[in-house]
Symmetry: C2
Subunit: 144 residues, 2 copies
DNA sequence: TAAAGTAGTTATGGATCATAGCAATAAGCG
DNA sequence: CGCTTATTGCTATGATCCATAACTACTTTA
């Protein structure tokens, strides 16, 4: 009992992209939830772990979000004890964001959880195909 | 001046999927706006054009959305004169949705606009690579 | 030193999405 | 037939997400 009412839409790459992205994101959210993370907070935590003393503006630019929207995300990570805001001497406007030990540990657990989540969702694709998919995705023109 | 602060995230297919999907969707929205369509209303219109007398429930199932959320979308399409709700004699609970001539024409223009939008965004990929991308995306396990 | 720019923040509104519950109608079953 | 259950479309509502504007503190530029 297939349901190919969307055959006309399936020709658009964007339609398939959105479907896949929605499915993967909602499953990722489900997997991260027990760790107290959402997709966006995980992304921020991950960048902060890999880039000690990054600023909120720099983080926002990296993750393609508005500076204003980083505030609540950073608040959540800070209140969970996963990162800290540290004043910079060189520029007292910015905060230097640093992950705590707990933050690094939580990030590690999240990465493991997400890895098995992706193994499940992309079970139909072998390693070469997954790599191919990532390469294709990264070659898409991002406007601005 | 690259900005590879997200190197740890780039390994996740989901991260690349979301980035690509967001970029493509916002550009698609921009392209559809002059036609008075949003991405979701275009998707619904497209299915209705290809499936005369489809019901709202069937449409919702096809597009992976809740029945309740189709109502406003169908309202918008109907008020724009692109589709009509028709009572079914066989089942007086459901509406049979049918595109009007204007709806069919608008859908055609939207498809053309989206085709050139995809040509622009996926300029880095040749036809074979685009087909490959679609095939990979469609092989992803969609839970439920 | 005055003007312009930047970092973080607050407030706010729009768009999207999921849930619960309703009335009308249909289907299943005694 | 009558009663229960299920389904369709709909309303209302709340959560989340995302973008914009405006504010302060601070820095840079002229």
């Amino acid at each position: 009992m297939e349901n190919p009412l969307d055959t006309g839409l399936r020709d658009f790459i964007g339609y398939n992209l959105r479907r896949a992205s929605n499915a993967v994101m909602s499953d990722a959210a489900r997997v991260l939830e027990p760790l107290g993370l959402r997709v966006t907070t995980f992304s921020a935590l991950s960048v902060i772990c890999d880039t000690p003393d990054v600023t909120q503006s720099h983080l926002a630019a990296t993750l393609n979000m508005e500076r204003s929207n980083t505030v609540l995300i950073i608040d959540a990570l800070e209140q969970a004890g996963l990162i800290g805001r540290h004043r910079m001497e060189s520029d007292r406007r910015s905060y230097a964001l640093r992950a705590t030990l707990k933050g690094i540990q939580t990030r590690k657990e999240a990465v493991a959880a997400l890895a098995s989540h992706e193994d499940r969702l992309f079970a139909q694709l072998d390693a070469a195909e997954r790599a191919q998919l990532v390469l294709l995705l990264r070659r898409i023109e991002i406007p601005e």
